[in-house]
Symmetry: C2
Subunit: 352 residues, 2 copies
């Protein structure tokens, strides 16, 4: 029996996309590959409802590389970044700033604490937030943050790595200037490719980048002819094209709805189990649940995988023993979710 | 008929390794994945004859990311890098330094000009060179550079991206402190993974890194338990393990010899064609040949691909019209090389 992944990444891939992973990567400095890149770019801009003048950076590496690159291409030493830090991934933006000696000012949020916009430092060039703080499973209201940024003339940069495909991410409606996504979450591809979508406003505000590999100017220049400055993860790009066509065909709302339905089903069926949804503002991408019967979440996840061949994940840091994270992304069906619920029932109540 | 790649990367992959590209990537923050990483690390250290105390960084991204990371983890603002610049890829080290405001001093080499060690700035912390300047197909004598570095107490850092597997790369014999390789050249895997092998001496000289994603300290810390700080390109790692086992079984000398034989065969059979080996010090990885019949190399490569379904590559910059690069890396057989020679004969002389 194949192992089922209810993880926030990597996630279950479709057979068709998996198969493309076996394609011999071809030489890419030619029109054939440029055509693939152009189509990927067009489809991504469409899926995110990117306003005119937006453009796309395709860069080999993980989502964290994208977070760093999105910071260092826009905030100069004498400027400042504003950061919403509601957990480990918000904190990551702050850690990057510290390591790069970039000035920043952050607001730290306790679980489910509302963003008090009055406390945000308005003397910043750009605001950085996660769409979904994946360590605790909390989704932010991007529209209201976007309005705040617009009003205060700050660029709005969103790590949508785990939210894309599950929650609504709409560059126009939410007034976003930079969106970071990675291949191995909602796109349900292997890890290795990071994609950053930039608004005209972000592009016009680019600064001299102090990294050679992460310099957006070179990527934006080369994508004009469907190329990248350095060898991209070619096989993942082949898979990306197939996946984007599939998403485009059904429409992104279909996938948002699918994740939402799986999330609702899961949350409705754990009510009499010792599992309690952690945040009141969950993303459709994932349910972070507290284990309330004194078991260690970390040990539970290991035991559960052995018993049922189903992978869930704990959280990190001091939530490692407390939270179980159950993903709703990727090629999962309602049948898979039913199976998970049956296993959880058997585990906790000794019955299927 | 499948297209044959005689490119310096990506290169022809074996069926077995290609097939692994279709594996569903599994959750990786566990002992199962750590086991894979440990075996990869052990085999890489063995293949490069790395001295005791050496360690390995696995990082998602292209070889250029590895070049930048190897520079910025060792050269502080008040220190200096020495660079051997014999073409576009040597120049890349210099460009990275410029963009990062790292002090450097370079020696520029004309085609086949010997390295005059007296002209190298000895007041540098580390020396950076390519093993094989891939733009012109020139291999350097790493052993003599290693001796020079040792004598002058400079760390010796080698981009072996295109030379690994084709030419001898031996960390002990050549006294190398850092080797940069990438997945899509001699390893014959899809692009997306960069591997950097570091000596004890390099590791002891690490500086505070100003990039979050490229900070070697975190990678070296996490690899102790078979992990990486950020999601690695999992599917390529699966393929890497299979490939390393295959290389280990036959021994790396088998593969060096294979590339050497293909290179010799090719070079022996173009003698009466309007193709002339460019450098007197070619690598086994590739033959860069000048086209001597006034044709544009760039146009030739395009025409040749259409006629024979065989991919060769031009060079870049001002050599674009002049040089054709013919790779000898990856899953190519003597039969493939014979076929190439037949096609070249037909193209230039109208006969097979």
């Amino acid at each position: 029996m194949k192992k089922l992944l209810f993880t926030p990444g990597p996630v279950m891939m479709s057979k068709k996309v998996l198969k493309i992973g076996s394609t011999q990567p071809m030489y890419f400095r030619n029109g054939e590959f440029s055509k693939i890149m152009f189509e990927c770019k067009k489809l991504i801009l469409k899926l995110l409802n990117a306003p005119n003048g937006s453009d796309v950076v395709f860069i080999g590496g993980s989502g964290t590389l994208g977070m760093e690159a999105t910071l260092i291409n826009i905030i100069e030493k004498n400027q400042k970044a504003s950061i919403i830090n509601g957990g480990g991934f918000g904190e990551r933006f702050a850690k990057i700033c510290k390591q790069k000696s970039i000035n920043f000012s952050e607001i730290k949020l306790r679980l489910d604490e509302n963003i008090n916009f009055d406390t945000i430092d308005k003397n910043c060039k750009a605001l950085f937030t996660n769409a979904h703080e994946t360590t605790i499973g909390r989704a932010y209201d991007l529209k209201s943050i976007g309005e705040f940024c617009k009003k205060n003339k700050m660029l709005f940069c969103v790590d949508a790595i785990s939210a894309f495909m599950a929650d609504e991410i709409d560059m126009t409606k939410q007034q976003i200037d930079a969106i970071i996504i990675s291949s191995n979450k909602g796109l349900a591809l292997p890890p290795g490719l990071c994609i950053i979508i930039l608004s005209k406003n972000y592009i016009e505000n680019l600064i001299p980048c102090d990294s050679f590999y992460m310099d957006f100017k070179n990527y934006l220049n080369d994508i004009k002819r469907g190329q990248t400055p350095f060898t991209p993860p070619i096989c993942i790009i082949y898979q990306l094209l197939e996946r984007l066509r599939e998403i485009d065909k059904k429409g992104i709302l279909y996938f948002n709805k699918k994740a939402s339905n799986l999330a609702k089903y899961f949350r409705n069926h754990i009510k009499d189990l010792p599992l309690k949804l952690y945040s009141k503002f969950p993303s459709n991408a994932m349910s972070a649940v507290e284990i309330t019967n004194q078991e260690s979440a970390f040990e539970f996840v290991k035991k559960f995988e052995k018993l049922y061949n189903v992978t869930l994940t704990p959280s990190g840091g001091n939530l490692k023993e407390k939270l179980i994270r159950v993903g709703h992304l990727g090629n999962l069906s309602k049948k898979d979710m039913k199976f998970l619920i049956e296993c959880l029932n058997e585990y906790f109540k000794g019955k299927k």
